[in-house]
Amino acid sequence: MTKKLLQGNEAIAEGALAAGLGFFAAYPITPASEIMQHLSAQEGTIGYVHAEDEIAAMNMVLGASLAGCKSMTASSGPGISLKQEAIGLGHMAEIPVVIVNVMRVGPSTGMPTLPSQGDIMQVKYGSHGDNYPIAFYPNSVEECYRYTIEAFNAAEDAECPVFLLCDGFIAHLYEAIDMVRIRTKSRKRARKPLGSTEARHFTGLLSKDQMPATKDTKRYREWHRKVKAKVSKAARSYQFYEYQENEKSNTLIISYGIVSRMTNELKDKYSLFRPIRIFPLLDKQLINACSKHKNIICVEMNDGQYAREVQALIKRDVVSLPILGGNITHAELVKGIDKILRSKKHGR
């Protein structure tokens, strides 16, 4: 019997250790603090800094990653906003790091102790310039453990910042998991750490042929094409999703995180699609699942952030059912879906 009762946040910390975490820096924030508290006990075994602010924490993990450690930070919406500039540096200088975002109700301080899914757009488009973050969103404590390891692997493959999303609900949920049984191999670091004779220069500026800066547009386009291709190639190895087709139904419900555990109760009535790698979008799988259904409903704890992304992908109407953050009930979910399907435009 190797099962352990763990909280989502603790499972993320344990997953990071299993993936070979070498450095962790963060700033306390509800509802992500338990990740930091759990890793604080590892100080000495891994590098650990309780940073002065979110910005410092993000810059420290970038530095530690360049120096050869697998590095992670953890925060929530307001903290992620502060980290966004440094996340851009991670994309430009191609630095693998994992950023955990345990979402709470915003904007601003909002309702910090209650769960939400309001940072979907922030994760995809939050940093400046064109960049292509990879993001995973588990929906159980076991998955928190498993996909933290996968997030580290994806970061190593794509050489860029990777998000692990969670909501305040899953992060604080306790479930018994068997960590011994979950076998997910962790990738080794490919790039040589800082401290070589090669005089390599890692910079947020666009560089060319190891020259520190360039204003060459052609070089910028070539760099952009290369990075975009590298990330999408790496992401292909991480196409995680769950699709439960119900042949009796012409309605597909898309949901993720805690909401997907609520919609799972409706599997006898509708088809269900749950993206786990939420970015880049699982284009083939989503297009395929949507093509078999007349009505597409995206249920999420925000005002249709993912629904708009899916709609742009499949070029068809996706009805958004926002169950806005805070305390949510199964009854309002069922009522919301019924109301959409009763309306004139959509019908069984």
């Binding site: 070498g22 450095f23 820096a25 590098g47 800094v49 940073a51 002065e52 602010d53 910005i55 410092a56 924490a57 810059n59 420290m60 993990v61 970038l62 530095g63 530690a64 990653s65 360049l66 120096a67 050869g68 450690c69 590095s71 500039e85 440094a86 540096l89 200088a93 750490p193 800082l194 401290g195 070589s196 004779t197 090669e198 005089a199 390599r200 220069h201 890692f202 910079t203 947020g204 500026l205 190891q210 020259m211 520190p212 800066a213």
Partner: protein, 246 residues
Amino acid sequence: MAADGYINFKRFPTPWCPGCSNGVVMKATAMAFEELGLSRSNIVVVSGIGCAGRTAGFFNTDSVHGLHGRAIPLAEGIKRANPSLHVVVMSGDGDLLGIGGNHLLHSSRRDTKITVICFDNEIYGLTGGQMSPSTPKGVKTLTSYYGSHYPPVNAKGIISANSRHFYARTTVAHFIHMKNCIKEALSWDGFSFVDVRSTCISNYGRRLGFKSPSEMLNKLKIDFKMQSDPLCLREKELGIEKKDGS
């Protein structure tokens, strides 16, 4: 030139204006590396943003050029991931004392073993000459039309507020002194800060009425005197104030 091996001449020219003193600090640092016998593969130079922020790329060592104000946390991450490296931050006054002031406060409190070399030219030179946190009171800049209303930041005060500290003040007009300060800072077992008073003729000095870079250098020689008390560094004095307490 001595210490050539530490400078990456392949990446020259630097983006600095004629008469700029940044290259002098770079040379003094390279010479300090050589005199201490540090191996190139054991040094990482980290910079923030600004004229001085471009220094990192011209060293013949691995280097990182990060974000505005965030050179110190970037360096701290590198140092904590690999404590055997000599991690040197080279950046400007606006970067280290302004936007990055919080990191200076806390990294020095944590006594992280990194060396910070601050190119303090009292101005934001790269962006054209805007007021910096170390611009003296009353000085007119592009963003202080009526003259700065505030006294300059007290870097020594920030550093020496910690029970254990190393603070050195030197200028680009005192080359040997500057090199020795950097050497001592690199040898210090803890957080060390070298405040190098430097010059910017193009976007600062000429607006103040200086005719040439050498006039600015001479002003530094007139303004600053050598330390009179080895334990305490007074205002307008050059030297080191350090304390090895707990």
